[in-house]
């Protein structure tokens, strides 16, 4: 089967971000960027399915600035066969991303689309579900295990009460949770080899999708600061503090 996997370039998840003083957003200049962690899980899942003999071709797609070819290179170093960068410097909302991915699905006709469950920048948790809605394909979000069966996939999902298992006929959409796998590291020789793999850069205009944002971001502010830092000297002090808290708590 053929797998399409979507990857997003985001501020590296280890970076402590700074809100711009004028409230116009988050500082991204000179900040380390990398592949969204959940997209990495999605790529790893696709590569493992290829290694198990289930996938015959993996195509990665990213939507973003020219620099996003970095994360596609990483994906190809992990084992993806070829990539498409839909190039734009504009802010692209999840709905527009889903529409662009739908256009790629129409061209590529994959049997399975894998995405991360959320991007650690906007934390939206939407794109996979939206793509599934547009295509009217079955979806399995927050996947922590995937097993390919005859013409179907069995997926374990992380839900509020624990986990749930379901079976989806193909073609289908799956979004990856962190526990799905441990993404492999890419050694330099793999990155060098990845440079030989095809990467098509295509302007967003080629896809005929209106990407004008529907939501306006009025301002971005830092969260309220906590004023912590007091320590107690003994367990007894802690017992007193917690005991008093419990006594003062209003019963629901």
């Amino acid at each position: 089967m053929k797998i399409l996997v979507a990857v997003k370039r985001v501020v590296d998840h280890n970076v402590r971000i700074r809100v711009k003083p004028d409230g116009s957003g988050v500082e991204t200049a000179n900040v380390r960027m990398s592949m969204n962690p959940f997209c990495k899980n999605a790529v790893e899942a696709a590569v493992q399915l290829a290694e198990q003999g289930h996938a015959t071709e993996i195509v990665a797609v990213s939507i973003g600035p020219k620099a996003a070819s970095d994360v596609l290179l990483t994906a190809m170093a992990m084992g993806v066969n070829r990539s498409i960068l839909i190039e734009t410097d504009a802010r692209v909302e999840p709905l527009a991303v889903a529409k662009l991915l739908q256009a790629v699905v129409d061209e590529e006709k994959p049997d399975l689309v894998l995405l991360g469950k959320q991007a650690v920048d906007d934390d939206s948790n939407q794109t996979g579900q939206m793509l599934a809605g547009l295509l009217d394909w079955p979806q399995a979000t927050f996947a922590s295990a995937i097993e390919v069966e005859d013409g179907a996939v069995k997926v374990t999902r992380e839900v509020d009460y624990g986990r749930a298992e379901s079976r989806l006929p193909l073609p289908a959409i799956i979004t990856a949770d962190l526990r799905l796998n441990t993404p492999r590291n890419t050694a330099l020789p793999m990155v060098m080899k990845a440079r030989q793999k095809p990467l098509a850069v295509r302007p967003v205009a080629e896809f005929g999708v209106d990407i004008t944002p529907r939501l306006q971001i009025e301002k971005t502010t830092p969260p309220a600061e906590r004023s912590g830092g007091k320590t107690v000297g003994s367990v007894d002090d802690l017992v007193t503090a917690i005991g008093d808290d419990v006594a003062n708590m209003e019963a629901l």
């Binding site: 501020v11 998840h13 971000i17 809100v19 988050v26 999840p94 709905l95 889903a98 469950k117 650690v120 920048d121 906007d122 934390d123 948790n125 939407q126 579900q129 939206m130 793509l131 599934a132 809605g133 547009l134 079955p138 979806q139 399995a140 979000t141 927050f142 069995k154 509020d160 009460y161 624990g162 749930a164 298992e165 379901s166 079976r167 989806l168 962190l178 526990r179 529907r214 939501l215 971001i217 009025e218 971005t220 502010t221 830092p222 969260p223 906590r226 912590g228 830092g229 007091k230 320590t231 107690v232 367990v235 007894d236 002090d237 802690l238 017992v239 917690i242 005991g243 808290d245 708590m249």
Partner: protein
């Protein structure tokens, strides 16, 4: 202003999250209609009808909705949304699964994980693991929202709304539900508990992690865990607190042997008071906590549990 709320429920019980979603939308000014979808959910519908701020409860009772599949629920909702300006769900697993799928079908860009509502079309939502808050203006004719329940107070009081069945069209889902792998325990709901006791990977074994559960039991608290503790198998995945786990806002959070990685902090920003127990005085969570004890959890936790049991009994 017309509002449709998708009720969150679990095995015949209305989830406390729904009461908080109703608390959130109450600020929009109008009473809400509530949709209860599932199988044998009469009790849930009755519980919803008794809440204030509810105008009508619509019930879709069918086996197709038993597993709360996104395909079935988004299909159902898309037939019901005409005439509603707001379609709202809690940002739990079901809401996150269903609402974006519905939104795409309606060609609407939703606002997910709303933590504050400022008037009819202005909403706050956290980004970058809660390290920034975006104020978003949404002027679309239909507004689809998921609400972070822990950020809003539950609606309180009594109501008496009529309950009406909805007529169901074609409701086949191609997704076959196989099994629920439910965490068996009777600890309070993590998302709405007043007190949460959280443990990290420093407990070093599932056996030792029971210390957290024991302290929680003494306090009538819910149990939380870091991702590291869940990955190590000390705690089930639905106890994970953080950016990619549950977001909590208890009155008191007791964090034991937890470093305070930013992904964990993302889940506890709403806690009113934080107490940390940690060996390392430099741990980010210790610096952030309202109160901290520097010490070895293997000594502190048993002593604390015994002493609190004594004090709370007295």
């Amino acid at each position: 202003m017309s509002i449709l709320v998708l009720a969150d429920h679990d095995q015949g019980k209305l989830s406390p999250a729904t009461q908080r979603v109703l608390g959130a939308v109450a600020t929009l000014g109008d009473a809400a209609d509530v949709l209860v979808a599932g199988e044998n959910i009469g009790v849930v519908a009755e519980a919803a009808a008794k809440l204030p701020g509810v105008q009508k409860v619509s019930v879709a009772d069918n086996a197709a909705y038993a597993s709360q599949s996104a395909e079935a629920l988004a299909g159902l909702l898309s037939g019901l949304v005409d005439g509603y300006e707001y379609i709202v769900a809690s940002a739990g697993a079901v809401g996150r699964d269903v609402m974006p799928r519905l939104a795409a079908k309606l060609d609407v860009m939703p606002v997910t994980d709303v933590i504050a509502i400022h008037g009819a079309d202005r909403f706050d939502r956290p980004v970058y693991a809660g390290n920034a808050i975006e104020t978003v203006v949404n002027t679309q004719a239909k507004k689809l929202l998921t609400i972070r329940a822990s950020a809003f107070a539950p609606i309180k009081g009594d109501g008496q709304a009529p309950i009406e069945p909805v007529s169901l069209a074609d409701i086949k889902s191609v997704v076959e539900f196989i099994a629920e792998l439910r965490t068996e325990n009777d600890t309070p709901d993590l998302g709405t508990a007043q007190i949460v006791v959280g443990g990290g990977q420093s407990f070093a074994s599932a056996e030792n992690f029971k210390m957290v559960e024991k302290l929680a039991a003494v306090l009538g608290a819910a149990v939380g865990a870091t991702r590291a503790a869940v990955d190590a198998g000390y705690a089930p995945n639905d106890w994970q607190v953080g950016q990619t786990g549950k977001i909590i806002a208890p009155d008191l959070y007791i964090a034991i042997g937890i470093s305070g990685a930013l992904q964990h902090l993302a889940g506890i920003q709403g806690a009113k008071k934080i107490i940390a127990i940690n060996l390392d005085p430099e741990a980010p969570l210790v610096k952030l906590a309202d109160l901290a004890l520097i010490g070895d959890l293997f000594e502190v936790v048993p002593a604390l549990t015994a002493a609190l049991e004594q004090r709370l009994k007295a």
